[in-house]
């Protein structure tokens, strides 16, 4: 799968340009993280990936095909979007119904629905909660319920909008294992997150947005080495990275092990 944005501009009907000419190619199966402060245009950008929003000018191509050729409902078989706020997505009276709703709409065979349901419920940790009402779930469980509902559709691309918000240690672990499992199945995951520890733990490619533009795009080590540009975009590297940078270590590190290796290198000099 490949998503390509060509000079994408977007203005909300109420006025104000939110995206100011974005050029981007995202493809393959390597998970990609999009970071940047509130209002940078992250959500607006990803909502173009399956046509929830349509460009004011410029082009969005999915595998070379212009987004305008199909409806959002049609694209959602290929590109699944998990909303930032679970309450914007959940509307049925049980987790199971949430999971089965999408597949039934696209007439997925019942056998296939059942098979996928088991795999998805296990992956998102909902096996024991399939008969619960989504409104009785904790905020973190609601998030996993919405992720599960989108995974049920078996799209080639998954977009997670702030999945880390309100998650604890275990929740973040589960998210990482979901992203890993999807990569193994040949899926492309694109994730928006404010949690830098989470971002560096599983995303090699990082895209930084600021004021409706992409200001950095590259390997995590390269991106977080650009301290001045990051400061301007109000993005701070993870704590361990900041300590290394503050103490003058030359390498950009994201783990304590890498930190110690970098420290040993400096000691030898």
């Amino acid at each position: 799968m490949q998503i390509e944005l060509k000079n994408l501009h977007y203005s909300y009907p109420s006025g104000g340009e939110v995206l100011k000419g974005i050029n981007l190619v995202i493809g393959g199966t390597e998970p990609v993280a999009i970071i940047g402060q509130n209002g940078a245009g992250k959500t607006t950008a990803v909502k173009h990936f399956n046509g929830i929003l349509r460009p004011t000018s410029g082009e969005v191509l999915i595998n070379g095909e212009n987004i305008e050729t199909r409806s959002t409902a049609q694209w959602s078989k290929k590109v699944g979007y998990v909303f930032q706020n679970p309450d914007d997505q959940l509307f049925l009276e049980s987790v199971r119904k949430e999971f089965e709703f999408g597949p039934r709409q696209i007439k997925m065979p019942e056998k296939e629905i059942k098979r996928r349901n088991e795999w998805v419920a296990e992956l998102v940790g909902m096996s024991e909660k399939l008969d619960m009402h989504p409104f009785d779930l904790t905020p973190s469980e609601k998030k996993f319920c919405t992720i599960g509902a989108v995974l049920m559709m078996d799209p080639d691309v998954l977009i997670f909008d702030e999945p880390t918000c309100g998650q604890d240690v275990q929740g973040n672990h589960r998210l990482l294992s979901i992203i890993k499992a999807l990569k193994e199945r040949g899926k492309l995951c694109i994730t928006i997150s404010h949690d830098m520890k989470f971002v560096v733990s599983s995303f090699r490619r990082i895209i930084v947005m600021c004021g409706g533009e992409v200001i950095l795009d590259g390997r995590a080590e390269e991106v977080f080495a650009q301290t001045e540009i990051l400061k301007k975009s109000f993005v701070a590297p993870p704590p361990v990275t900041k300590v290394a940078q503050g103490a003058g270590l030359k390498k950009t590190v994201f783990t304590t092990e890498a930190f110690m290796e970098a420290l040993e290198d400096e000691r030898k000099v």
């Binding site: 402060q37 209002g39 973190s140 309100g166 240690v169 929740g171 109000f234 300590v243 103490a247 400096e266």
Partner: protein, 288 residues
């Protein structure tokens, strides 16, 4: 030891619709002017505890309760939410739960609590102006609260708690909708209020922030108090992660350096001292 402003005595609570108790035999005291943090995995009871401190338990959420919560000498169970709100300001996890849903504008939303307290119109306008500038929402005062972004609603929620000038602020994972820079900005304001004497009780998942702010930390695990101590003691305990909580990166770095015997410093829990410690290690080997 300062004056005890908040006391929880052998407190247990079970929600009506659940089988398990959400909190089991919790006891602790908070000194006036302290910054008291509550950490623990999701489902460990943090939000339940915050609700009990603000009187939402037992007055709003019903269930089976035992033990006592005493706020500035008043038993929370026996007084009304109105009485408690004179002392305690509560900022909810979901900021949309905080809105009155009767205010047509952000300005009215901010003034809502003051109106219930019978504050004069002039005073109200002064306070709204001050708080909206503090929270950087003075440009959206005329907007409908339901038209705002999550981050903006969170700022309004904070503003409507601050405007009542509470002695105690209870913050329940209150910056989930804000980006890191936005949360830091709000926590700087909270720290400023704390310096001026406001007692703060905060439940949060950001361990770096907790380590930096807290005078004391309560660790909850499955409704029980697993630990209660100063930040350096809590994060210095090698077993602490078994309770389902993370630790600040700085602690991991200190441990790795101590293991190699590169430093004899105590556990470091903040960025500045951690950088200093690493510089010392580097300087020392340059001298050799």
């Amino acid at each position: 030891m300062g004056r005890i402003i908040l006391e929880v005595k052998d407190f247990s609570f079970k929600y009506r619709q659940t089988k398990q108790k959400a909190l089991k035999n919790i006891s602790f005291q908070v000194e006036e002017g302290n910054f008291f943090c509550v950490i623990g995995a999701n489902g460990s009871g943090k939000s339940t505890l915050c609700s009990a401190l603000a009187g939402l338990i037992p007055h709003y959420f019903t269930g089976k309760m035992s033990g006592r919560v005493i706020v500035d000498g008043i038993s929370a169970g026996e007084s009304t939410i109105a009485e408690l709100s004179q002392k305690i300001g509560f900022v909810f996890q979901n900021p949309f739960n905080q809105l009155s849903y009767t205010a047509g504008t952000v300005a009215e939303e901010l003034a809502y609590g003051l109106g219930n307290r019978g504050v004069s119109r002039r005073m109200m306008m002064e306070k709204v102006e001050f708080v909206s500038k503090l929270m950087r929402i003075d440009h959206i005062l005329d907007k409908n609260p339901l038209e705002l972004s999550g981050g903006q609603v969170q700022r309004v929620a904070f503003g409507s708690a601050f405007i009542m000038e509470p002695e105690i602020l209870v913050l329940d994972e209150c910056t989930t909708q804000l980006d890191p820079a936005g949360s830091e900005e709000i926590f700087d304001i909270v720290k400023e209020l704390n310096k001026k004497g406001v007692t703060v009780i905060m439940a949060d998942h950001d361990m770096e922030r907790v380590a930096r702010c807290a005078d004391k930390i309560l660790v909850l695990e499955k409704g029980r108090a697993a630990a209660l101590d100063e930040p350096k003691k809590i994060f210095g305990d090698p077993e602490i992660m078994q309770h389902g909580v993370g630790i600040p990166d700085y602690v991991e770095i200190t441990r790795a350096l101590k293991e190699k015997q590169y430093t004899d410093r105590d556990i470091e829990i903040a960025e500045g001292p951690a950088i200093e410690m690493v510089r010392e290690v580097l300087d020392r080997c340059k001298l050799n």
